[in-house]
Symmetry: C2
Subunit: 293 residues, 2 copies
């Protein structure tokens, strides 16, 4: 059996795992070597430093997903259009070294007349489907750019990106809220958070609703210390406003963030389950299996 | 006749005018002494430096509008609730020196279950009403925080704040768009701008629609140099999505920004007129008249 080296090479970090034949990690590594830190032409060296020893094993195969396949990455791996399943990903790999190192393509789809893209989340989504042993699901991956991925009959049918995490970060650090809210976010205030969710639902327009994150403090309807929680609720609420209320979702991601989404989903009466487990390694393993190695 | 010293003291600038008995500026001054630059207790000195000579005139009256009346300003002038007309403003002045220096109160109203506030725009709005000689209008003042003000029977009935300008600035300078768009905005690309307006209208969710400002460049649907225009259109479109299509609006503000709003309003088939003239001095003059001096 061939050794699979699973690699998730994103914008800000590089994570690797040596997998067993079930797709479980035997050994894992993580480096602060996201693609933004790698100079042009520096990818072979960064790769060798990260897993050159693992690659010495006879028949080792490295499968890379994430931003390493973008224009700013190691080599551009053209997007595959939706709907797409594991066979489409496995047959459209971009080979760096034939038979040894390959990049998994990202996906693209068209929503509301504009293109949308993902790189890495498609692989994670297929890992999730394996973990929950299902063919249909709506998977939500909170983060800087939260992805909503609709899987039907084992294929990713469509998806949508929400810039929720990034909006929170830039508004919190660089807008009027940087000046008027406490410097530290502190623990979440659930009541203020849900007030924000409700206000987003009622208003239906973020440019207007956002100003309430200032005024609710001004009028003592939310304690100043809880204003960051209110803003967080407002943004997650605005994202959930776009979701169909009667769709069950699978929430995947870091505990701190998924807990906030869970709180909002529960408050809105939506059905969901959360998945804390690592899914990317399993997704890369599934792609390798699809290659009939 | 008393000499009116009209003062617009905002967050980042301090503007003053000595008015004639028609409310026209005889002499104007502007200083980079917004309230954020004035240390606690430093307002009397900043005021004296800006217009101490004018105030030496017998019977001089200084009327100040804007953020000087906020918690961070010279003295807090409590908000007056809507609906409010000139008599309400004139009777709720906060006097710094009785009969000589007064701060005009800001307004507050409740929209979608949250408070909204303005300081300075109420005065400008009454100046606009005088200029257009009307009792009813919807006045739009683009800027960092764009204000939509509904005037009925000469009173401000309600208003709504949109953080459009601030969202543009923080997204442009601090989000992924800082990295992926050209450093300079360049001249507006009208076609890209209107593509952005249309996409906001179609999508109805800014957190999702915003990501298209990245992907339209990635897929060459908008030239990279025109991407800032697309983002600008997306944000102004999102703001206009909240407006009633059959309401005629009066667009007031700096030429560069009002031209963009005019472009979008025209594209959406909405009725509007633009007003380039200074209206704040006339608003302060109207308040002084209301005081029956």
């Amino acid at each position: 059996m061939q050794t699979i080296i699973a690699i998730d090479w994103g914008t800000s970090s590089l994570r690797l795992a040596r997998l067993d034949d079930q797709g479980r990690a035997i050994e894992e590594r993580e480096f602060p070597r996201g693609i933004l830190t790698v100079p042009a032409g520096g990818f072979p060296q960064a790769f060798a430093q990260a897993c050159g020893d693992w690659m010495n094993e006879p028949g080792a195969l490295a499968l890379i997903c994430g931003m390493a396949g973008s224009q700013q990455g190691w080599q551009e791996a053209p997007y595959v259009p939706c709907p797409a399943g594991l066979p489409q990903l496995a047959s459209r790999l971009t080979w760096i070294e034939p038979g040894r190192i390959a990049i998994v393509p990202g996906l693209t789809c068209e929503t509301d007349g504009a293109p949308d893209v993902m790189r890495g989340e498609e692989t994670k989504a297929f890992g999730v489907m394996k973990l929950i042993d299902a063919q249909d699901a709506t998977i939500v991956m909170p983060g800087t750019h939260c992805k909503w991925t609709r899987v039907r009959s084992g294929r990713i049918e469509s998806f949508a990106t929400f810039m929720t995490g990034e909006f929170y970060a830039v508004l919190r650090q660089h807008s009027i809220f940087a000046r008027t809210m406490p410097a530290e976010d502190g623990d979440i205030d659930e009541s203020a958070f849900l007030q924000g969710v409700d206000h987003a639902m009622r208003t239906g327009n973020l440019l207007h609703a956002a100003f309430s994150a200032r005024t609710v403090s001004l009028f003592d309807r939310v304690a100043s210390a809880a204003a960051p929680s209110y803003l967080s609720g407002l943004l997650i609420g605005e994202e959930l406003r776009a979701a169909s209320r009667d769709e069950a979702v699978v929430l995947v991601g870091a505990d701190k963030l998924t807990r906030r989404y869970a709180l909002a989903l529960k408050h809105l009466g939506m059905t969901f389950r959360t998945l804390g487990q690592e899914a990317t390694w399993l997704g890369l393993h599934s792609i390798a299996q699809e290659m009939k190695l």
